[in-house]
């Protein structure tokens, strides 16, 4: 029951030129570029990253050679980004930020035991929201060791009640007894298809009956997403296929296998890139709350309170 079982997908150009890694400078080089942009000098950037000035000079130079672009204007009294360098640096910043989220998440997965704050979260929240929160928390309280356990809503509640976690995050319809909660955000399930699908060009909203009558790509029964959909349609959702992870559902939908129902959190990126298109729906209650939960009476204090305050919009 663990996870990924993805269908074939016809996308991504694994064409010639070899992997991304040969065309994109590695993270260390991008980090260095950001430091140069911020500090205005190769030497200063080198010091900040704990390397020597010649190392920085050589690394920036080979990055420019690799990309075929002049990124930095060197002068005897400092270095500034060129115009294209500024643009490249902005794109690089996004890569580094994603890597920082990765790192924050990985670190939380690693430090299981001796953590000052033990968090349990549902898959969707752990995937899309939590790394950013952890990063923000680290910015304010750099020495707070956080541990993370991801699972379904029931598992999260269980861990809290067993005192194996201090704070939980779930997306669901109801809160288990013995737990207090606060709504931290709202989420909507939305219907998505590949851009080529007939529904993609629909202007008139889909009726609930139509949705219930159409075979859909769905998460397995028991997942939070599926529960909300079944309840909204009165237990009637017809699966085209059932997949055990959000990722697999997205991949199937992108490949054109059919319409899928997913959290808007999960498909924001795909919508922005037009890999998926949202289909308007009427009359169906696909909203759900994202909640922070904790054992009744143990109102969050210290790091837990800090993290909680970061999550509220």
């Amino acid at each position: 029951m663990s996870s990924v079982a993805e269908p074939h997908q016809a996308d991504d150009g694994h064409g010639p030129g070899g992997g991304l890694a040969h065309r994109v400078p590695d993270l260390g080089a991008l980090e260095l570029l950001l430091a140069v942009a911020r500090l205005g000098s190769l030497g200063a950037a080198a010091r900040e990253l704990g390397i020597t000035q010649p190392a920085a000079s050589s690394r920036i130079r080979s990055m420019e050679r690799q990309m075929g672009l002049a990124l930095v204007d060197r002068s005897p009294r400092g270095s500034r980004l060129t115009d294209t360098g500024a643009l490249v640096t902005d794109w690089a910043r996004r890569v580094v930020e994603a890597a920082e989220c990765f790192d924050a998440g990985a670190q939380a997965l690693r430090s299981r035991r001796d953590s000052r704050l033990r968090v349990a979260a549902s898959m969707t929240i752990a995937e899309y929201l939590l790394p950013g929160w952890l990063l923000a928390l680290r910015a304010e309280r750099p020495d707070t060791a956080v541990s993370l356990h991801a699972g379904n809503s029931a598992a999260v509640a269980e861990r809290l009640l067993a005192n194996e976690a201090d704070l939980g995050f779930v997306e669901g319809l109801s809160v288990p007894t013995g737990l207090d909660s606060v709504v931290i955000a709202h989420d909507h399930l939305i219907v998505v298809t590949a851009p080529g699908h007939p529904w993609a060009r629909r202007r008139r909203p889909l009726a609930a009956s139509e949705l219930a009558a159409t075979p859909l790509i769905l998460r397995e029964k028991g997942s939070g997403t599926r529960q909300v959909l079944d309840s909204a349609l009165g237990g009637l959702a017809r699966p085209l296929i059932e997949l055990s992870s959000t990722t697999a559902v997205k991949a199937a939908a992108v490949s054109g296998a059919g319409p899928a129902v997913l959290s808007e959190l999960a498909v924001r990126e795909e919508l922005a890139m037009r890999r998926l298109v949202s289909v308007p729906v009427e009359d169906v209650a696909l909203a759900r709350d994202l909640r922070a939960i904790w054992p009744t009476g143990h109102r969050p204090v210290g790091p837990a309170r800090e993290l909680l305050s970061l999550t509220r919009g």
Copy 2:
């Protein structure tokens, strides 16, 4: 006049443990992990990336050692991700996607001459939107060579009229004569502050007069963002400091220097991570259109039409 001149900022933990690059696997490893997730086998993933099976095996193993996490369940008939591996892979996917955007953008900056589609775009669009569009275009038309030139709105128009570009993207109030256009999206300028600023806790919307009376962190006169703000306030915006790039303005605002006015495109990430907070505003027309533009009479065809169709919501 080129670019970045960032003020001091007290954030990011350049603390111990050395750079990100030592804690996060490099792009090649992340790419490999995604391939393993998708294909269900180390050997198959290795083949897809054009390396040998032992190389893949060793690389995954050292990634697991580096992170201190078991990512893959190996068996004599294939490999599957562990639960934590699935989570890590989802985070890795975001890093790789950011790198793909970086690559698409860099490639467009590089191929200046012999391109089938020459695009000119304003800075904001080039920074935040265009890489995604280029990636989507590459997915559909892998062999379309695109070149990109970024500049302010006037420069974009100039390039189009001089037949140095086929398609332009600008965010602005008006369209120069000699050019046709279509609105592809709507953008709003928003007022943001660091979370600690008094305005951050404001519930009651800010009046235009209040905004005009307060010194703000702003882009330089002549930028599209500044033009819209000045016009909305009747030419009255009072600068606290003027900076020459969106990035510098964001950094100043994050560090708490004061309130800033920026496109919501530019601060979406910062808002999500609570590094900045949006301040409600009333009575001020801060909306602006994002437009695709082209020389009158040369309606986009071929690759230009293709790209245009990807940008419309």
